[in-house]
Structure formats: C-alpha cells, structure tokens
Symmetry: C2
Subunit: 195 residues, 2 copies
C-alpha cells in the first residue's frame, strides 16, 4: 500500500464514516472512529460520558434546571486534545489504518504516508441520510446538519488554526453522491494503494 | 460516458490545465481553455488584446506613464460575462467536452451531466511548476501564484456569489501531487465514465 494511513474528514450526513469503515474493511486495516473514545477512557481516566461531551466539539453541554446549557471547558478540552494527539500518533505507529475525524489529518501532518480525504455531498442528499440515521423529520435533519458541521468546524479550527471546510490540506475531496458509497470506497482504496 | 461535460477549475501552478487537456485527449472529446477567447472575438467583435485583459479577471490593466495602473471596467466585464455564458452553454450543447476555468462549473450548474473537478497542489510543488512555465525565480513564482489565484478568486466570486476556494460546489477536488499528472488524468477519466 502506498499510503499506510487514511484520514477521513466528513460533513455530517455525507456517509463519510461508513465509507471509512468500508475502506478499512476492503484494505484489511484497522479502523478508528468513535472507538478512539474507549481507548481514551483507558488513558485519561475521564468517564466515557465526560468524553462524549467533549468529542469533536469545543462546547460541553451540561444539564441545568432550564434544559441544556452550553459552556466551554477549555481545561478539559486541551487535556483531551493532548491525550488524543498522543493516542493517534501511537495508533498510526502501530500499523496501517483508517481514522475518521478527531483531527487525525492535522495530528499526523508530519508523516509522509498519510492520505487525507474529505467526504461531502449536496445538502439534500445529506438531509435524506440524516433523516434515516436519526429518524427525524426533514426540518430537524437540516438543523442537525448545520449544527453538527458548525461544531466540527469550530473544534477543528480552534485546535489546528486551519479552516475545516477549505481544501488546501486535503489530498482528495469527494462528493459521495457522485459515484455512491460503494464505488467511492473502491476509488479511495485504489488511490491509497497507488499514491 | 456518464458525465458528458467535465469542468476543471484549478489553482495556478497545479497542472490543472494540462490535466484537462490530457483528459480531453484520453476521452477523445473537445477541449476548451484559452481558445474560448478566439471564439469570443468572433462573437463580440472585441479585439483579442482587449479580451486577454479581461480573461478570468475583473481588473483591466492599462498602461500609464507610471507603468501599469489597474482600473475596473464593469461594463466590459459584464458584457463579456454574458457573451461567455451564451458561448459556454452552446459549447456544452454541441457535445462532450472538457472546459478549463471561465466559470464553466457555474455557468453549466443546471445541467445534470457535468462533473466539476478542482485541481490544486501544495504551494511548493506549484511554485516549482510556475518557475518552469514562466522561467522566473522562486520568489517571483511565489508572488505570481498568489496574484493569479487572487485574481481568479475575485473574478469567480464576483460573478457567481460563491467562494472559488471552497469545495461545496465541486464533485471532486484533487491534489495533483498525490498521483502525479498521468494517473490523475486516468482517475478523472475513469470517474467521468462511471459517474
């Protein structure tokens, strides 16, 4: 394989996580996405619930008598970020893998064997997919799409000082609606081998 | 062929024009880039020199006793833009083709058979290529890269009300350094057939 590590960034509802999982399956390499959280639980001792609140977001949601309020918790954020940097560095060192999200493209920027892919799709296709994931109506799906992307962007931009939605640091940006999930998986796998 | 029309947008020095030319050759379809200017000369009666000054830029450069000054000429710009919209619509109607730049992705946005590709590459690779094109030193190449991209962006953003460097309206964004020119050409041709 030409590129040992594939990082997948993705807009919400684009199918990027699924594509990453299938690429790992096809290339028979390790796959990391939310399971990075369990690994961080072991490393940091922070509860899984606490980690979920800080996963790919800057803002921690806390219950209050008035529903949920959002408050920033920079200390925890930075502590987790540092733990994640070490962990992702170790995972990449362990062997070929696919990593979805978690700033992996940025964390591994000094390695030569990394293919950075960004998956997106037109808004309408993403809304349809979110309606399926979350069993919500169209309006809610649209709102979720906007909010999740905004959260991912602010998390990414904060730690990387780059802009999440810009293409400069990506090797490949693909609209998953173009070829569909299966052929997109084939294409990424092929490129990773040849690059 | 799945997609009949391929539009190529590109950062300066990315090899995008060359890639477009080779894709057209490989797929045996028409190729349009600067030759659109000669076609516009026939249509508009504006001199080729006048068109060159307005090609993919908003600002027209005029000689002055103090060297070159830059002045906007909105009338000519809009007149040319309208002529270009008609011309590119007609070219797309004529048959399968590859069109480099000239807002073709935007102009043809309502067609279903268009593949919108954006080619870029890391700054260092682009500077090396520009030094070759223009026979200039590294510093000049870097300055040219910044200026040409800025000019393309302001032209694109002005007429499309979109942002040239963002990936939302592209189907595929490729770093040409990843696979090199030849394999990138193969990949785009393959995707156009399958999509």
């Amino acid at each position: 394989m030409g590129k040992q590590i594939i990082t997948i960034s993705r807009t919400y509802g684009s199918g990027g996580r699924e594509i990453g999982r299938l690429v790992a399956q096809k290339l028979q390499v390790d796959f990391y996405d939310k399971n990075i959280l369990s690994l961080l639980v072991e490393k940091t001792g922070i509860s899984e619930e606490g980690l979920k609140n800080a996963d790919e977001r800057l803002i921690k949601r806390s219950p209050s008598p008035y529903g949920f309020t959002e408050e920033t918790d920079y200390g925890t954020n930075h502590y987790l970020y540092e733990a994640q940097v070490r962990l992702i560095g170790e995972l990449a060192q362990k062997g070929p893998c696919v990593i979805v999200g978690r700033l992996a493209d940025w964390i591994l920027r000094n390695r030569e064997d990394v293919l950075n892919v960004f998956i997106t799709a037109p808004g309408e296709a993403r809304i349809q997919r979110i309606m399926g994931y979350e069993d919500v109506d169209e309006e809610t799906a649209r709102e979720l799409m906007i909010q999740v992307d905004r959260r991912r962007k602010s998390y990414y931009d904060y730690f990387t000082h780059q802009q999440w939605e810009r293409m400069e640091n990506r090797d490949l940006v693909i609209n998953s609606s173009l070829l569909g999930i299966e052929e997109t998986v084939g294409m990424i796998s092929e490129i990773a081998k040849r690059a």
